[in-house]
């Protein structure tokens, strides 16, 4: 299964081969600012199965010191995937097709927007899930 994604103006497109590994909702203040949304939904895949298929020259990166890069289309401003080493974070809202996968849990619920209530039964971590914290320490 190939999953396709693109920005609003269609200038930038990408695809991922095969199944996606994980979908999560991130409520951190930086995601909320970058997306102008209550939270951002990310889908993760191995970088080796990801490729840009159009408009790579239209991609702008924003990478403040010490933080991972965020990318967007410089024509329409749509948020685009960002590669972190051997993983790529796709923004679920930019996918053209149903990715099949569904959100598994929430992260950074401790800093969620005041105007948004989490109304589902998924696990809501205050920050990163404990297993990620252990991996990074």
């Amino acid at each position: 299964m190939t999953i396709h994604g693109s920005c609003l103006c269609g200038g930038v497109t990408y695809e991922v081969e095969g199944d996606l590994d994980l979908m999560i909702n991130c409520h951190c203040s930086r995601c909320r600012k970058a997306h102008g949304a209550a939270f951002a939904t990310f889908v993760s895949a191995p970088t080796e199965r990801f490729s840009w298929t159009k408009g790579e020259d239209l991609i702008e990166s924003f990478a403040p010191e010490g933080r991972g890069a965020r990318q967007f289309c410089k024509v329409c401003g749509s948020n685009l995937p960002a590669v972190f080493g051997d993983r790529v974070n796709l923004l679920a809202g930019s996918l053209d097709d149903d990715p099949g996968i569904r959100p598994a849990f929430h992260i950074f619920a401790g800093s969620k927007a005041a105007f948004h209530d989490i109304n589902d039964d998924l696990v809501a971590h205050d920050e990163y899930p404990p297993e990620w914290m252990e991996e990074s320490s």
Binding site: C7, A37, A38, A40, E60, R70, G93, F115
Partner: protein, 138 residues
Amino acid sequence: MTIHGSCLCGGVAYEAEGPVETMNHCHCSRCRKAHGAAFVTFAWVPADRFQWTKGEELIQAFAGLSPFPRRFCRICGGNLPTIMGDQVKMPAGSLDEDPGARPSFHMFVGSKAAFHEINDDLVAHNEYPPELMEKSEE
């Protein structure tokens, strides 16, 4: 009450004199693409109570098929408010503070993302709410 907002890098800032008149969730495919999110929450104020306070020269606009261009910061890509005639819709995620208002309805749930389920009790319109349809035909 003054409501403040800004992009991720802080280059662009704005403020609106409250209260927010309406807050709603939009699930349309264009909002999902532009924001890369499951849906977008907007807070609405009259345009005469809104102003940019910093970095107007950093704002990039994209109209596409819409008469009202979407705006974003050309440095960080943060989504910014859209001026729609005498109303401004502010992406709630770009607000710096609790705007006080809470979402009152969903729109364009007829085209919502397959991966997202709506789990609240708010009214969910398939497209625009009927009262907005009437307004736009006036």
